[in-house]
């Protein structure tokens, strides 16, 4: 009888101890906010292009986290981003909802620019410099290639040019370049 009491009391005290430990840990290590949104946003390419239908990468990340948006709406990120999101969220990867465009950068044809500043207002990352009645230009290093400046231009002097391949960013894909046999 006494052995039964001892066993029960030991198990009960152990249960109480672990319960207290778990309760303390739940308070002490409580995670604020929704970290999944941050992780999703880090996966997205931050072009802020709005092609997903949301005004920026952060709103899209929040929509994905809330289950409101599919993960295949990011053309700049491409399949790689879809796969990463699928891994992150534990869902099946879906084919991209749009055609992944080659990475581009905006270019202002300077002799056509009338200095209307409309593209400056459209640029989500402030990558266009210029002022009224002065020629504008794109800071190519900061341009995310989001396309948003093309539409507002009244004289259509902005075009998206593919990022030029140099020896610095060449990716050793020998098949892509015709190697002249000598």
């Amino acid at each position: 009888m006494s052995s039964l009491v001892i066993a029960v009391s030991v198990v009960a005290s152990l249960a109480l101890l672990f319960g207290v430990l778990l309760g303390y840990a739940a308070i002490r290590f409580k995670v604020e906010g929704d970290p999944i949104v941050e992780q999703i946003e880090q996966t997205l390419p931050q072009t802020q292009c709005g092609q997903c239908g949301y005004p920026g990468c952060r709103p899209y990340a929040e929509a994905i986290a809330a289950g409101e948006a599919p993960i295949n709406r990011c053309p700049p990120g491409g399949e790689a981003t879809v796969n990463k999101l699928a891994d992150l969220l534990g869902v099946e990867p879906e084919p991209l909802d749009a055609v992944q465009a080659v990475p581009t950068v905006a270019f202002i044809i300077e002799q056509d620019c009338i200095g209307c500043t409309k593209c400056i207002q459209a640029c989500p990352v402030d990558a266009i410099v210029g002022t009224g009645k002065q020629m504008h230009t794109v800071i190519a290093d900061q341009c995310t290639g989001c396309d948003l400046c093309v539409e507002p231009c009244p004289v259509d002097c902005i075009e998206m040019r593919p990022i030029e391949m140099t020896t610095q960013n060449w990716n050793w894909d020998l098949n892509r370049i015709p190697v002249k046999q000598i």
């Binding site: 931050q46 072009t47 990352v125 990558a127 020896t167 960013n169 060449w170 050793w172």
Partner: protein, 1006 residues
């Protein structure tokens, strides 16, 4: 436990794991001494031949360059310059295919050699003891030396390490098969390499120096030992190490392991371990740069392979086209066989043999079919593990291969992919002929691109967030402004107050004065507004000797049928003086308005600004511009008459020995009066804008430069009658005159005169914009008349020892000529009458005069007179707005000059009255006259004076600012009539360094 130095002194060597023993084949090329080839007819020098950034171009097409002359200048820390390998003429500077596995193009400088091979002046030295470490750094860096072992890392960067170097390692291993360039260099130039090592010892002060040479080069070892015995170097501190032949012992990390037994941890540099390694070729180049003052313009290149007719080593100028090199050495590359740059293990197949030789090129290999059989198709990995056995970095090549092939680059990275040195040992032993290194390279570049994209995304997010925050802030500011405006608005409307407010702000030594005269019918809201205006008027005054502000506010009640009439007159006068002796500025604003409007207010505004700036410069320029614009009239919509006249005159003259002259400008902006506007329905808008800018820069010269700037824009807005739509008449006249006078020995006189008149002729350099828009009568649509006249005159004169005269005159008037540097703007807006809405007459006159005088004897005077007169308009329904803005800016800069150039800027826009029954007629006249003078230092002295005058109908000498807007009364039965006259006069004077005299200025007020 022995210390490292003790172990080194005992001659101990270590080994590294893995490694292979490929066939060496060095005897193809190492049996003959280094030969020289004739100069190629054409060189193609890539501006970037090293790891890091390219320098800035120093040459242009057609330049003649000497051998050793720098073609680029290093701009950043990681940049090194390139030099002309021989004398010749610069040809095309364009993108050309370079020696890179991608075959992509980079910027190259073509040099057409002249065959003379002329050196630039050299400063050879025999001892470096006098040179400090910094000087040696500069020498090595400016010589364009990058690591010649193959990586082409800038040597100066490597040598600038702050760490204490215990052991200096000299890499003469040359483990790659076929290549013998370092071997031959060590055999023939061991003494010079030792001199280079001596320089490094001088810079780094290492405790030990080890020269590592593989034991398959006994001649090089013996040559070094001989040279060591003959040199003054301490044999206890410097030693030649014979190391066993094993590939890749020439790799930096592997050679460090062989010589010291230490492994360089990932992410660290050898310097962190107290070690530093340089190639023997680099040491030789450093010797040539420091002792002989010869930059890196050539190097030893091994041309080898069974297809090479004259295999051997050659001194080759950098930039030599490889095709020419192959022809000279009778090398015939087989069709279908790659021509390899570098060795067979780490080299790459050249995509284009027109590419030039660069600093990294140490070997050209033209293999025959028996030497390099066609690569069989890769088969499946059988996981034999051979690659892991030979990997000198102790990686797991097959695992890296699996992950790289599957695109799982992150997993490959976890297996330390970036520690791979791409030596090719794994691919060499692979029984399945898998090109492993190629997979690693692709995976590496993919990972680098991902990292770059992540960094860019992070940057974009930061910028996006910053932009969002900024937009949010702006939005809040806008909303708060709207709240404030809406709080004030109902009070103003409901009040129906006749008030006249005159503000005059003068910035002096902190003594603003305001005298508001409250009217009879001022309600509380208006009183509040007046108090705010008073508080605004209290500002800090700038430095100046004299400034007398006067402000008067007169508020008179108006008669109205329904509401009260508001007559407001605001006069602001700002005078700023800086370091001028006695500038006097006066600003008087006398707005008187009595508006009577049945519905709305009639606004007549006249703004006159006169700015006069003086600065130091050389040369005399003058430009004057005048623009005239007639006024349209429209019964229903607004009639806009705009006249813009700009006159810019810039002169730049270089210094001369004798004296320079003083530039003086006067800009007068007179804003006359704005009579009431009467309109029946809407407002009639008549706007006349006249801008006159005159800039002068005078340099030291013997003669007298005369600067004239006479912009006289008169804008006359003829009345138009239209019942439905607006008639728009716009006339823009721009006259720009620029003069640049440069050095001339005898005397050069430049005169640029730009005149724009209606009926006037003038000599040299005329630009006469005469926009006259006759009134149009239309019943339905608008009539638009626009006239734009631009006149630009630029003159450039070369140096003059005796004297240089430069005069630019630009005049734009209706029928008037005026002497030096006048800018007069007199806008007049005819009154309009309106029965329903208010007639607003506003006159704003701003006069700004800035003077900056340098060490000058004389006095430059700048006057800016703006006289805008807005005639009243009559409208029955809406407000008639007559605005006349006259801006006159005069800037003067006088350099060391003897005499005084005066500059006047007098914009005179006149807007004739308009009659409209429905809409508003707006007449605005803006006259800007800017005169800038720049005066530079002179030995004798220079005085600068800036005079700005803004009056109604008066001219005054130095430093006047008198805005006098007068608003005629208007009668309205329903709403208030607002007559506002704003006159701003700003005069700034800045005088710098006056050696003898100071500027004097007189002011008169009316």
């Amino acid at each position: 436990m022995q210390t490292l130095l003790e172990q080194l002194d005992q001659g101990q060597i270590w080994t590294f794991p893995g490694g292979i023993h490929p066939p060496e084949r060095k005897d193809l090329s190492n049996t003959r001494p280094i030969a020289r080839l004739p100069l190629p007819p054409r060189l193609l020098v890539p501006v970037r031949q090293h790891i890091g950034a390219a320098g800035n171009l120093l040459v242009a097409r057609g330049d003649t360059v000497l051998k050793g002359q720098a073609l680029t200048q290093a701009s950043g820390a990681m940049a090194v310059p390139v030099h002309a390998p021989t004398s010749g003429i610069i040809g095309e500077i364009s993108h050309q295919p370079i020696a890179h596995p991608s075959g992509l193009s980079e910027l190259c400088i073509e040099i057409l050699t002249d065959g003379e091979d002329h050196w630039r002046p050299r400063n050879a030295r025999t001892s470096i003891q006098a040179l400090g470490k910094e000087e040696l750094h500069e020498l090595i860096r400016n010589a364009g030396i990058a690591g010649l072992g193959g990586a082409t890392f800038p040597s100066a960067v490597k040598l600038s390490t702050q760490a204490n170097i215990d052991v200096l390692l000299i890499n003469g291993a040359e483990c790659e098969p076929y290549i013998s360039s370092d071997d031959r260099l060590m055999r023939e130039h061991a003494d010079e390499i030792l001199q280079g090592i001596d320089i490094l010892i001088h810079m780094l002060a290492p405790k030990r120096v080890l020269i590592a040479i593989e034991n398959n080069k006994p001649e090089a070892i013996s040559a070094f030992e001989r040279a060591l015995a003959q040199s003054h170097l301490d044999p206890k501190r410097i030693a030649v190490r014979e190391i066993p032949t094993k590939y890749p012992s020439g790799s930096e990390k592997q050679l460090i392991q062989i010589l010291t037994g230490k492994e360089v941890p990932r992410g660290k540099l050898p310097a962190d371990l107290g070690l530093l390694m340089h190639n023997v070729g680099t040491c030789y180049a450093i010797k040539r740069a420091v002792f002989d003052d010869e930059p890196l313009i050539e190097r030893v290149i091994t041309v080898t392979g069974e297809q090479a007719g004259n295999a051997g080593n050659y001194w080759i100028r950098l930039g030599t086209p490889i095709r020419w090199l192959l022809e000279q050495t009778a090398t015939l590359a087989l069709k279908g066989q790659p021509l390899i740059m570098g060795g067979p293990m780490m080299g790459f197949a050249l995509p284009n043999i027109d590419a030039p030789v660069v600093k990294a090129t140490n070997c050209l290999l033209a293999p025959s079919l028996s030497e390099l059989p066609a690569q069989p198709a890769p088969r499946n990995c059988i996981r034999c593990g051979e690659c892991a056995q030979v990997c000198p970095q102790q990686l797991l090549p097959q695992q890296l291969y699996w992950h790289s092939q599957a695109g799982e680059h992150d997993k490959a990275q976890e297996l330390n992919l970036f520690d791979c040195i791409e030596c090719g040992a794994c691919a060499f032993v692979c029984p399945s002929d898998i090109p492993l290194v190629e997979h690693y390279r692709i995976a590496k570049s993919e990972l680098k691109q991902q990292a770059a994209a992540a960094a860019k995304a992070e940057q974009a997010k930061i910028r996006f967030d910053a932009r969002q925050a900024r937009l949010e802030k702006e939005k809040q500011e806008r909303e708060s402004r709207h709240k404030r405006a809406s709080a004030l608005k109902p009070a103003a409307q409901s009040a129906g107050v006749a008030a006249a407010i005159a503000k005059l702000k003068a910035q002096k030594e902190g003594a603003p004065a305001l005298k508001p005269a409250p009217s009879d019918n001022v309600d509380m809201a208006e009183l509040r507004r007046q108090r705010k205006a008073q508080a605004r008027a209290a500002k800090a005054a700038e430095q100046g000797n004299l400034a007398t502000p006067a402000s008067s506010d007169t508020a008179k009640p108006a008669d109205g049928g329904r509401k009260d009439a508001v007559a407001a007159a605001i006069a602001r006068a700002k005078a700023k003086q800086a370091q001028t002796p006695e500038p006097i500025e006066q600003a008087s604003a006398a707005p008187s308005s009595a508006d009577s409007d049945p519905r709305k207010a009639a606004i007549a505004a006249a703004v006159a600004r006169a700015k006069a700036k003086q600065g130091q410069g050389t040369g005399v320029d003058a430009a004057s511009t005048a623009a005239k614009q007639p006024a349209p009239a429209d019964p229903r919509k607004a009639a806009i008459a705009a006249a813009v006249a700009r006159a810019k005159a810039k002169q730049a003259a270089d210094r001369t020995e004798p004296n320079a002259q003083v530039n003086a400008r006067q800009s007068e902006a007179q804003t006359a009066s704005t009579p009431p506007i009467q309109d029946k329905r809407k407002a009639a808008v008549a706007a006349a804008i006249a801008k006159a800018k005159a800039k002068q820069t005078a340099e030291v010269s013997d003669n007298q430069p005369i600067t004239h700037a006479e912009p006289k824009p008169a804008a006359a807005a003829a009345p138009e009658q239209d019942k439905r739509k607006a008639a728009v008449a716009a006339a823009i006249a721009k006259a720009k005159a620029k003069q640049a006078a440069a050095r001339s020995e005898t005397a050069a006189t430049d005169a640029a005169e730009t005149k724009a008149k209606v009926s006037d002729n003038q000599p040299i350099t005329h630009a006469e914009p005469e926009p006259a828009v006759a009134p149009e009568q239309d019943k339905r649509k608008a009539a638009v008349a626009a006239a734009i006249a631009k006149a630009k005159a630029k003159q450039a004169a070369a140096r003059s020892e005796t004297g240089a005269n430069g005069a630019a005159e630009a005049q734009a008037k209706v029928s008037d000529n005026q002497p030096a540097s006048h800018a007069e703007a007199e806008p007049a807006a005819a009154p309009e009458q309106d029965k329903r809405k208010a007639a607003v007459a506003a006159a704003i006159a701003k006069a700004k005069a800035k003077q900056a005088a340098a060490a000058n004897d004389h006095q430059p005077a700048a006057q800016a007179e703006a006289e805008p007169a807005v005639a009243p308009e009559q409208d029955k329904r809406k407000a008639a707005v007559a605005a006349a803005i006259a801006k006159a800016k005069a800037k003067q800069a006088a350099a060391a000059s003897d005499r005084r150039p005066p500059s006047h800027a007098e914009p005179e826009p006149a807007a004739t009255p308009e009659q409209d029954k429905r809409k508003a007629a707006v007449s605005a006249a803006i006259a800007k006259a800017k005169a800038k003078q720049a005066a530079a230092r002179s030995e004798t002295g220079a005085n600068d004076a800036a005079e700005t005058q803004a009056k109604v109908s008066d001219r005054q000498p130095a430093s006047h600012a008198e805005p006098e807007p007068a608003i005629a009364p208007e009668q309205d039965k329903r709403k208030a009539a607002v007559a506002a006259a704003i006159a701003k006069a700003k005069a700034k004077q800045a005088a710098a360094r006056a050696a003898k005299d100071s500027a004097q200025s007189d002011e008169e007020n009316q």
